[in-house]
C-alpha cells in the first residue's frame, strides 16, 4: 500500500524536506518577525506582548534620533566598500589574468583574507588600529604622518571599518571577475589586433563590456553582503564611539539584545528586509536589462 502511494506521489515526497526546511527556517521566522513588529514586548514571561499597531514604525521613522543616521551609515558603508572593492577587484583580476612567475602562490595568498573568520579579523584589526601601540600608527610614523585615532575617532571610524571590509572582500570580486575573464572568447581580441587597436582600447571596448554581466553579479552579491555586515563592526566597535559606527544591523542588535525591545527590533529588521529586497530587485533587473 505504502509503496504504491509513494510511487504515485514521489514527485511531492522528494522535494518535501526542502520545502519544509524553507517553511520552517525562512518563511516562519519572517512572518513571526512581521507579527512581532506590531507589538511592544521586552522579553518578559510575565508581561505578554502588547499590540501597538504601527507604533514601532512611527517611533523609528519620526522620533528616533538613532534610526536615520544608522540607515545612512549603512548605505555609506556599503557604497564606499563596494565601489572600492569593485575597482580594486577588477584591476587585480586583470593583473592575475597575465602570466607571470609565482602567480599561483600569489593568488592563493591573496584569497586568504576571504576565508578567515570575520570576528578574528575584527580582533586583529582592532590591535592594528590601537592608537597607542597599534601597527597602523607605527607605519604612519615611518612615513612621517601624524598618528590617527582610527576606531576611536567618531570621524574616522566608518572609513577605518571600510578599509577592513575592502581588505577582506576585494578577493571575492577579483575571483569572480577572474573567472569571467578566463571564459571570454579570443576571437574579438584577434580581430582587434588585426584592426590595430591599442591595449587600452581592447580593455575598455572589449574586455569590460564583455565582463559586464559578471561584474554586475559580483556587485549584487557583494552589496547584499556588505549591507548586512555585522560581525566586524560588532567585534571592533560595537557601534561606537558615540554611536558613530552604528549601522542598522548593529542598532537592531542593540535594541534586541541589550535593550530587549523585541517589537522595536522586529520593526527595524522588517524595514531592513524591505530595503535589501528592493536593492536586490533593482540590481537583478539591471542585470537582466544588461543582458538583452
Amino acid at each position: 500500500m505504502f509503496s504504491r502511494w509513494l510511487e504515485r506521489n514521489i514527485k511531492y515526497v522528494f522535494p518535501l524536506p526542502a520545502v519544509l526546511f524553507v517553511l520552517i527556517m525562512m518563511v516562519f521566522p519572517i512572518a513571526y518577525t512581521l507579527r512581532l513588529s506590531f507589538f511592544d514586548w521586552s522579553m518578559s514571561s510575565l508581561v505578554p506582548p502588547q499590540w501597538v499597531g504601527l507604533g514601532n514604525y512611527k517611533t523609528l521613522i519620526f522620533s528616533d534620533p538613532r534610526f536615520w543616521p544608522s540607515i545612512s551609515r549603512t548605505f555609506s558603508f556599503t557604497i564606499a566598500a563596494v565601489v572600492v572593492e569593485t575597482v580594486l577587484g577588477i584591476i587585480i583580476a586583470l593583473l592575475f589574468n597575465q602570466d607571470f612567475k609565482g602567480k599561483n602562490v600569489l593568488k592563493t595568498l591573496f584569497l586568504l583574507p576571504m576565508i578567515a573568520t570575520p570576528v578574528a579579523i575584527g580582533l586583529v584589526w582592532m590591535l592594528i588600529y590601537e592608537p597607542n601601540i597599534g601597527l597602523a600608527n607605527k607605519v604612519l610614523q615611518l612615513l612621517h604622518i601624524p598618528p590617527q585615532l582610527w576606531l576611536a575617532s567618531p570621524k574616522q571610524v566608518l572609513t577605518s571599518l571600510v578599509v577592513v571590509d575592502v581588505w577582506q572582500w576585494t578577493p571575492m570580486i577579483a575571483l569572480m571577475v577572474l573567472a569571467g575573464l578566463t571564459s571570454l572568447p579570443t576571437e574579438p581580441y584577434e580581430a582587434a589586433l588585426v584592426d590595430g587597436a591599442t591595449r587600452w582600447q581592447m580593455l575598455t571596448r572589449i574586455t569590460l563590456p564583455l565582463l559586464k554581466p559578471t561584474i554586475l553579479v559580483a556587485v549584487l552579491l557583494r552589496s547584499i553582503d556588505a549591507l548586512k555586515t555585522f560581525d566586524i563592526i560588532y567585534s571592533m566597535t560595537g557601534g561606537g564611539p558615540d554611536f558613530h559606527s552604528e549601522t542598522i544591523n548593529i542598532y537592531s542588535f542593540v535594541q534586541g539584545f541589550s535593550y530587549f525591545k523585541l517589537g522595536m527590533t522586529s520593526a527595524l529588521l522588517m524595514i531592513f528586509f524591505v530595503i535589501v529586497l528592493a536593492i536586490s530587485f533593482i540590481l537583478v533587473s539591471a542585470r537582466k536589462g544588461g543582458e538583452t
Binding site: V13, S45, A152, D242, F257
Partner: protein, 439 residues
C-alpha cells in the same frame, strides 16, 4: 519494477524515516532521578546544569568542582560565556521557559531586577533560613541588599567590588608627588605627570559609552550627585555636571589617545604597558595589573582608596556577581546544595585567596582571607567598604538604554563638547525610563 525505481523508493523511505525520527528526538526529555533519602548522598546521580560567566571566580570554583561531586554524588555540567553573551543566552533561554538550567551567575545590578520581575529567579530565602550553619548573617549587608528585592532573596553574592585608584609607585616617587587623596589633587598630579612625548599619560579609565558609566559613578557620588533621586533623574544637576567635567577632562587632557573606545581591557592594557600613571576602576580586577605575565609594571602598582570630592570619598561598593537559582529548575533541592557549597565559608575563603573579593565578613576578618592580597590592597578595599554607595549604575530594569543615556555626557566630555546639553538630553532619556517603570 526496474532497479532505479526501487532505489528511488528506498531513498524516499529512508528520508521520511529520518525526518520523523528527528521530530521524535526533539520531544525527548531527561528525567531527574528521585532523591534517595536513605543515604548521606541524597542527591547522588542528579545532574545540574550551571551557567557561569567567564570570570576568575568561575575558573577558581571549577577547579574545586570534583570535590563537590565526590562529596554529594551530584554531577555539575558547567557552561561558560562572556558577560554580554551570558545575559543574552540566559534571557533567551529563560524567556522560553527553560527548565534545564539549574543555577546561573548573574549581575544583580545589570540584569537582577529584570530577571526577578520576570520571575526567573527563585526566592531562596527559605533555604537560607533553614541552613543556619551556612549562616546568611555572615554576608556583608550591602551585598545582600543588592540581591534582595521586595524582601525576597534572589541570589547569593559571589564577588564584590569597589572603585579604587591604581597608581604607579615608581613615577610618584621619582617626582616626589604624594598619593592624591582628593580629586583635585588627582587632577593636579595627572597634569604634572602627563608627558605624551615620552609615551606617559597622566590618567586612563574607561571611555566607552556604556562601560564607562559604572566607573563614573564614584566621581558622581563623591561630587555629591547620583543618577536619580526619588524617581527623578539627576544627571544634569550642577554636581553631576562637575563629575562629568572632571572625568572627561582627566581623559581628554591627560589621557592617552583613543579613550573614547576603551572598556576596561583596553584601559588596563595601557596601564599594563606602563603608559599611564593613574587608573580608576574596580578593585576586583587588580590581578590584571599585578600579574607579571600580563603587566610590565607588575611590581610598581600602588592601590589607594577613591579620592575625595566635594562630598567626600564615596566609591561604589557592590555585588558584581551573584549565584541564582532558576525558578523553573527541576532539581531545586540539589541546586541549593550546590549554591550552599559554592558560597560556604571554606569555598569563599579559597575563592578570595585566589584573588576574588567575596562578601563574607568572617573571611575579611580572617587573616587567612587576606593573605594572598597585597597589604596595601587589602587596606584599600577595607577602607573603601566604609562610606560607600550600594549601586554603580542607575537602578532600573531597563538598564541597557539607561546606561547609554548616562554615558552620553561622558563621551561628550571626553570630546570636549557641550556637557550641559548632553546631560540634559541624557537626563530626559533617563527620566523617560524611570517614568515607564513607575507605572
Amino acid at each position: 519494477m526496474n532497479k532505479p525505481r526501487k532505489l528511488l523508493r528506498g531513498v524516499a523511505v529512508v528520508l521520511s524515516l529520518a525526518m520523523s525520527l528527528g521530530l521524535v528526538a526533539g520531544c525527548g526529555s531527561s528525567q531527574a532521578p528521585k532523591p534517595n533519602a536513605s543515604t548521606d548522598k541524597p542527591y547522588a546521580g542528579t545532574q545540574l546544569r550551571v551557567v557561569f560567566a567567564n570570570h576568575p571566580w568561575s575558573d577558581a570554583l571549577k577547579a574545586q568542582l570534583p570535590e563537590f561531586e565526590q562529596k554529594t554524588g551530584i554531577k555539575v555540567n558547567a557552561e561558560n560565556y562572556f558577560e554580554d553573551q551570558l545575559t543574552q543566552k540566559l534571557t533567551v533561554e529563560l524567556t522560553s521557559g527553560s527548565t534545564t538550567i539549574d543555577a546561573f551567575m548573574f549581575r544583580p545590578l545589570q540584569e537582577g531586577k529584570l530577571f526577578a520581575t520576570n520571575g526567573w529567579l527563585n526566592d531562596i530565602g527559605s533555604y537560607t533560613q533553614k541552613d543556619t550553619a551556612w549562616n546568611v548573617g555572615d554576608f556583608n549587608k550591602g551585598a545582600i541588599g543588592t540581591v534582595t528585592m521586595n524582601q525576597k532573596l534572589y541570589g547569593v553574592p559571589l564577588v564584590t567590588e569597589r572603585e579604587i585608584m591604581y597608581y604607579r609607585k615608581d613615577i610618584l616617587q621619582q617626582n616626589n608627588i604624594p598619593v592624591p587623596k582628593t580629586l583635585d589633587e588627582l587632577v593636579a598630579a595627572a597634569k604634572k605627570l602627563n608627558d605624551p612625548s615620552k609615551g606617559i599619560y597622566g590618567f586612563v579609565a574607561r571611555g566607552q559609552r556604556s562601560p564607562a558609566v559604572t566607573q563614573l559613578s564614584s566621581f558622581l557620588y563623591s561630587s555629591g550627585g547620583d543618577f536619580a533621586k526619588d524617581g527623578k533623574a539627576t544627571i544634569n544637576t550642577p554636581e553631576a555636571l562637575k563629575a562629568y567635567q572632571t572625568y572627561g577632562d582627566l581623559l581628554r587632557l591627560y589621557g592617552p589617545p583613543g579613550t573614547l573606545n576603551m572598556a576596561w581591557p583596553q584601559a588596563f592594557a595601557i596601564f599594563q604597558q606602563g603608559k599611564a600613571v593613574f587608573l580608576t576602576d574596580a578593585d576586583s580586577l587588580y590581578t590584571n595589573l599585578t600579574d607579571p605575565k600580563k603587566s610590565t609594571v607588575s611590581d610598581q602598582v600602588g592601590f589607594a582608596p577613591f579620592p575625595a570630592g566635594t562630598a567626600g570619598a564615596k566609591p561604589y561598593n557592590i555585588t558584581s556577581w551573584a549565584l541564582g537559582m532558576n525558578a523553573k529548575s527541576q532539581n531545586q533541592a540539589a541546586t541549593w546544595e550546590f549554591i550552599k557549597w559554592a558560597t560556604s565559608k571554606e569555598e569563599v575563603l579559597k575563592m578570595q585567596q585566589a584573588g576574588n573579593p567575596g562578601a563574607r565578613e568572617s573571611v575579611w576578618n580572617d587573616p587567612e582571607g587576606l593573605k594572598t592580597f597585597p597589604k596595601e590592597y587589602a587596606d584599600t578595599v577595607k577602607a573603601s567598604m566604609k562610606d560607600s554607595v550600594d549601586h554603580d549604575r542607575p537602578v532600573v530594569i531597563d538598564i541597557g538604554p539607561a546606561r547609554d543615556a548616562v554615558g552620553g555626557p561622558i563621551q561628550a566630555a571626553i570630546q570636549g563638547q557641550d556637557i550641559a546639553a548632553a546631560a540634559n538630553a541624557g537626563n530626559t532619556a533617563l527620566q523617560a525610563i524611570l517614568d515607564k517603570e513607575k507605572k
